[in-house]
Structure formats: C-alpha cells, structure tokens
C-alpha cells in the first residue's frame, strides 16, 4: 500500500503536512530538512521542485524557488538527492511543482524516478484534470503514485465529485482562492465552505492548506479535515534560520 494511503488509514486527525522547496536555502539541504521534519513530528512532506514562473505562489515561495534555481536545483539534481530518501526517512513524501519541468523531464521518466526513490505521489497545480485523465493517469497508476488535486471555495460540486473519483490520496482543500502565503482568517463563510465539503462524504480524506500559519489556524483546519498543510510559514522560518533547532521549534508550536 502506498505510504500516503497507509497514513490516512492509520491516522484520522491532526495530520501535519509540511511543504518546503527543494534546494533551499542551500542546494544540499533537501534531505537534511526532511529528516529534521520527520524527527520533529511531521506526518507528510511536500517537497517543491522549483519553476521559474510559479503563478499560484505568493512572494515567499516565489523567492525560495528563485533561490533554489540559482543554487542549481533541477529535477535531475533532485532525483539524485532523493536516492537516499528512503534510507533516511520513512514518512510519505509528495513532490509538488508546475507541469512544464515535469513535461521536459518526461512524464513517464518522472513517474519512474519517483517510484525508484520512494516518492509516493505529486501535486501539480497546473496539470489539468482532463489531460491527466486522458494521457497521464495510466502512467501514475503503473508506478503506484497518488496525484493530488486542489479544490477551492469556487469549485463546483460536480467538479469536486470528479476530482474525488480521480484522486487516490487525499483532496487538497484550499482555504480560499488565493496564491500561497495569505494568512487564513476563518470567517463564517470559510466555516460554511469547510462544512459543506466535509458534508459531501467524499471517498478521499481532506487536507486543508493555504494560510495555515500558527496553532490556532492549524486547529481550526483540523476541525474540518484529517489535517492541514503548512507551506509559506515554514519557508519563512527557514529564511530566518534553517538550523535544526529552529525547525524543531517551528514544529513544536504546532504539536503543542
């Protein structure tokens, strides 16, 4: 069984997923940070592979992507680094990035490389559902990879059901239609939206992301989903200090 499905089978609440950009702040930091996050209690990792034009990202993740590219990060380099992934950590790992680098690497090559190093799935926000279904789904399945789709407050119910049918890991519920890094302010309408999706009884578990930046917002998200995803807040913390001590301190705030 895929590590992601196993995780959601074993753990039903308060799942903490952390996003960070591969090759940031230093090119060789990718696995070091993964290890530290696992030790500090992360349940799931989303490792971003950088792209020059990340239109769904706010300034913090844009800057980390730019820095990673300047450091020399590429998919080739990332897969080289990830050869040691499974000798160093055991929690599930997703790769997250934009479609063009994946297309240039070759979708089959990409999926094969993921399977070889022990990556469990990916999130490619600008890969359309139709194209995935028609051209790539078989390849993802062949290599046992989950492909995670996003849902926003504006996503229609019909489309959510379609996403649910295509997804094999979890559904990434965006707290609002926004680029990454806008702080979540839980309003009545956000709660109504979370409740609405929760009430749809989808086959896939839900994870809430975008804007989760402290314990309070993490807890709010966990009230409606299996867990939550933290990205910008962690990348910001790496910006301030990438030391193991600060990674641990960052995580403690959520695990308290």
């Amino acid at each position: 069984m895929n590590r992601i499905n196993k995780l959601f089978q074993d753990k039903k609440s308060n799942i903490l997923s952390i996003y960070y950009t591969a090759g940031f702040p230093g090119l060789e930091d990718t696995l070091k940070i993964a290890e530290e996050l696992e030790q500090a209690g992360a349940d799931l990792l989303e490792i971003g592979f950088p792209y020059s034009d990340p239109v769904a990202d706010g300034p913090v993740i844009q800057a980390s992507s730019k820095q990673a590219l300047e450091n020399g990060m590429s998919l080739k380099t990332l897969f080289k680094q990830l050869k040691e992934l499974r000798s160093r950590i055991s929690i599930p790992v997703l790769l997250m990035g934009y479609v063009n680098p994946m297309l240039q690497f070759g979708v089959e090559n990409f999926c094969q490389a993921c399977a070889e190093v022990g990556v469990d799935g990916c999130i490619v926000p600008d890969l359309p559902m139709t194209e995935y279904e028609l051209y790539y789904q078989e390849t993802f399945k062949k290599y046992g990879l989950c492909n995670i789709f996003l849902v926003t407050p504006q996503t229609s119910e019909e489309r959510i059901h379609k996403i649910d049918a295509l997804t094999t890991g979890f559904i990434y519920l965006l707290s609002s239609s926004a680029t990454t890094g806008k702080n979540l302010e839980v309003s009545q309408s956000t709660e109504a939206y979370f409740s609405r999706i929760k009430g749809m009884n989808l086959k896939n578990p839900l994870m809430i992301g975008f804007g989760i930046h402290n314990k309070a917002t993490f807890d709010q998200a966990c009230a409606y989903a299996s867990g939550a995803i933290i990205g910008t807040a962690f990348v910001k913390s790496l910006n301030e200090s990438p030391s193991k001590k600060s990674v641990t301190a960052f995580m403690e705030a959520f695990r308290a």
Binding site: A56, K66, S74, L75, P125, T130, A178
Partner: protein
C-alpha cells in the same frame, strides 16, 4: 487541415488550459460564454460601432509606392498604427471590455510590456467606467515612462512586477496571481493570443477585423482579395493572428511571421521563439517556448518591448509545426534600419515591432507582380527614444 481551435481547446498539439484550480471557474465561465456573447447581435453592433466611431476603423490599406518600387512588388501597409491609441491592441480591448460587462465583471486587470496593451486597456476602462489595474515589469516602467503616465492619466493603477526579470513575462505572472486572488468580480484582459483556452481564440477573433478589412480593401484596390504574401511581426502574436486570420484556410496566401532575433538568434540575447524554443507550457497553454533543458523559462531579449516574450500563442505554434506559416526572425539592427527606411520613403514612423515585419522584405525576392500586405501594427511615437539613440538624431 484545420488551423483553428477544436472542441477541447487545442490547435493540433498546442493550446489547452494549463491553469491551477483557482483559475478554473473564471476560465470556464469565459469558455462557456465567449462564443455566444460574441455572436449576439447587440454585441456585434456595439463592437463594430465602437471600432468605427471610437477607434477609427476601417484602418486604411495603403499601397506604399516607394517601398513597392524598392522591393519590386506591390507593398500594401495595413495601417493599424492609425487606430486610436496607436496600435492594433485596442481591437482586442474593446471586444474584451464589452464581454466583461456582459459577464457582470466590475474590475479589469491586464499585463503590459511596452505599455501599448496597458494603454489600450486603461482607455477602454475609462470609456466604460470600470476599475483598471495594469501589471508592468519594474524595468519596463522605467523604459516606458510616457505610457505609464498615459495609463495613470486614464485612471488606471499601474503595479510594478518586481519578480523574475521584471518584464512582460513577470507582469503576466503577476496579473494571473491577481486573478487567482480575485476570482469573482475581475476579468483579466490578456493582450495577446496567449494564455489558457479560450483566450487565444477570443483574442484572434477580435483581431481578425484586420484581415477581414484587408480582403475587402484588396478587392476594391486590385480586383483580387487574395494577396501573395501576408507579413506580420510576432511576440505573443496578436497582430499576426489578426492579419492571418481570414487567409489561413486559403493555402495560396503565404503567411510570414517575423520574430525578434534581438542581437542575433544565437547571441544569447534573442526572442526568436520558434528558432530557439521547444514545446512546453507557459501562462496556461501548451505551445513553443524558450526554456532550459530542465523546463525553466529563459529570459528573452529584443530591442522591441512588444516582442520581448519567450513564447508564442498556441495557434502560431500550430501554424509553425504544420508548415502553414513561415516563421523567420529579424535582428534589432535590421529592424531599426527598416524603421528608418519606411520613415524616409513613406513618411510613416513605424513601431519597432512593426519594423521587424518590414525588415523581412529585404530578404525576399519578388518579380514585380506580387501583392504583399505588411501589418503595420503600431506607430513609432513610443519608440522615439530608441530611434534617437540608435541613429544619433
């Protein structure tokens, strides 16, 4: 061969809508409505009325006698430079603002490189009383001060794009991010035949007025509505698509698209996308773009800010790949010389973008009989600084 968009939003291998879920409802709303709206009688009436009374269409098709004598062909210039605001860009912004109104949008965003599309957008927003935010690369804001001032005077907010190379590509990224964050009340007026489906088709339809008029004018002037050649410059490719549109299915008409080679195709400072690019995805569609082996987008270069873009629209990629269009490139130097020549022989100062199309005439051989139409997409007022520096005027 079909050269137009199919049911699923593709032109052969190119096109589609590679967008994050946050943009899906907006783009889907457009996709479901654009053709119906454009075909409504009230829309058509309003669109054509504005093109006539506000933009000043039809733009003349002018037989340039001295250029004709020089090149030994009948050279016709399609005078988009005479449009209100000085370029073809306004054909599209008029169409899109009327469409945005019918979709109930209250706020308009746009990207701009040289500022021509930004000015054309700010103009129609002033005309219709809608809020307007234009994203423009920080470097372009410095290079194009007069257009920034025009946009501000028209009531637009000009927001500097400070990410990446701080030029057109980054302004487009910022506009897309704005749209992600404002999913309900905002319409994004893309300025070229790029972006997710249905944008490339929608912008091409609005710009197709260029070739529609050209056919009629050629028939009146020569007794034949089929030219031998049609030439236009290509950045994203909106004036070229407008110029080609009604000739595409007529394979006797040769279509020539002129890209910007910058300092030379292999100089490392170029925007010659079909020569240097590979298939990939940028700004929501699958097309041809300049990129590294790892799929990172390469920064383009051209003296002309309007051609300084690392991709081309998906329909152009299809015309290129099928061989229906011939894609060539012209250097900075060649374009500036052609701009000067057109000025001195015809008394028309072309935009440097349009001068790229004119420059390719030097490389063609004619027998004195051919009818050749060149899209003079914009006027050169905005480029006077560059011309003055280059020629020491």
């Amino acid at each position: 061969m079909n050269y137009f968009v199919d049911q699923s939003g593709y032109y052969g291998d190119f096109g589609g809508a590679y967008i994050p879920e946050m943009l899906y409802p907006n783009v889907e709303e457009l996709r479901q409505n654009y053709l119906n709206i454009i075909q409504e009688e009230s829309f058509k009436k309003e669109f054509h009325q504005l093109l006539k009374d506000y933009v000043g269409r039809p733009s003349p098709l002018y037989l340039a006698k001295r250029l004709s004598a020089r090149y030994n062909a009948n050279i016709f210039l399609k005078r988009e430079d005479l449009n209100h605001t000085g370029a073809h860009k306004i054909n599209n912004t008029i169409g899109q603002i009327l469409l945005a109104e019918r979709l109930g949008k209250k706020r308009i965003i746009a990207e701009t490189g040289a500022g021509q599309h930004g000015v054309a957008t700010a103009t129609v927003c002033a005309l219709r009383g809608l809020e307007c935010v234009v994203y423009m690369g920080e470097i372009d804001i410095q290079r194009q001060a007069p257009n920034v001032a025009r946009m501000k005077m028209l009531g637009a907010t000009v927001v500097p794009a400070t990410s990446g190379s701080k030029t057109l590509k980054d302004a487009t990224n910022e506009a897309m991010r704005d749209w992600v964050n404002n999913p309900i009340d905002t319409h994004y007026i893309i300025g070229s035949v790029v972006g997710p489906h249905p944008y490339p088709d929608m912008v091409a339809i609005f710009q197709s007025i260029i070739s529609q008029e050209t056919k009629k004018q050629l028939l009146e002037q020569t007794g034949n509505d089929q030219p031998d050649y049609v030439l236009a410059c290509v950045g994203g490719g909106s004036n070229a698509m407008g110029m080609f549109y009604h000739f595409i299915q007529d394979e006797k008409v040769k279509l020539i698209a002129v890209e910007a080679a910058g300092k030379g195709v292999n100089s490392g400072h170029s925007a010659a996308t079909t020569a240097l690019g590979k298939e990939g995805v940028l700004h929501g569609s699958r097309s041809i773009l300049m990129q590294t082996e790892d799929g990172q987008v390469v920064e383009p270069f051209s003296v002309s800010a309007g051609l300084d873009y690392p991709g081309i629209g998906p329909q152009h990629a299809h015309l290129f790949k099928t061989g229906r269009g011939t894609y060539v490139s012209i250097t900075d130097d060649e374009s500036l010389q052609a701009g000067l020549l057109c000025t001195q022989l015809e008394g028309i100062i072309p935009a440097i973008e349009s001068a790229h199309a004119l420059a390719y005439l030097e490389k063609m051989k004619f027998n004195g009989q051919e009818n050749v139409v060149v899209c003079l997409s914009g006027r050169g007022d905005k480029d006077m600084d560059t011309y003055m520096k280059y020629f020491g005027l």
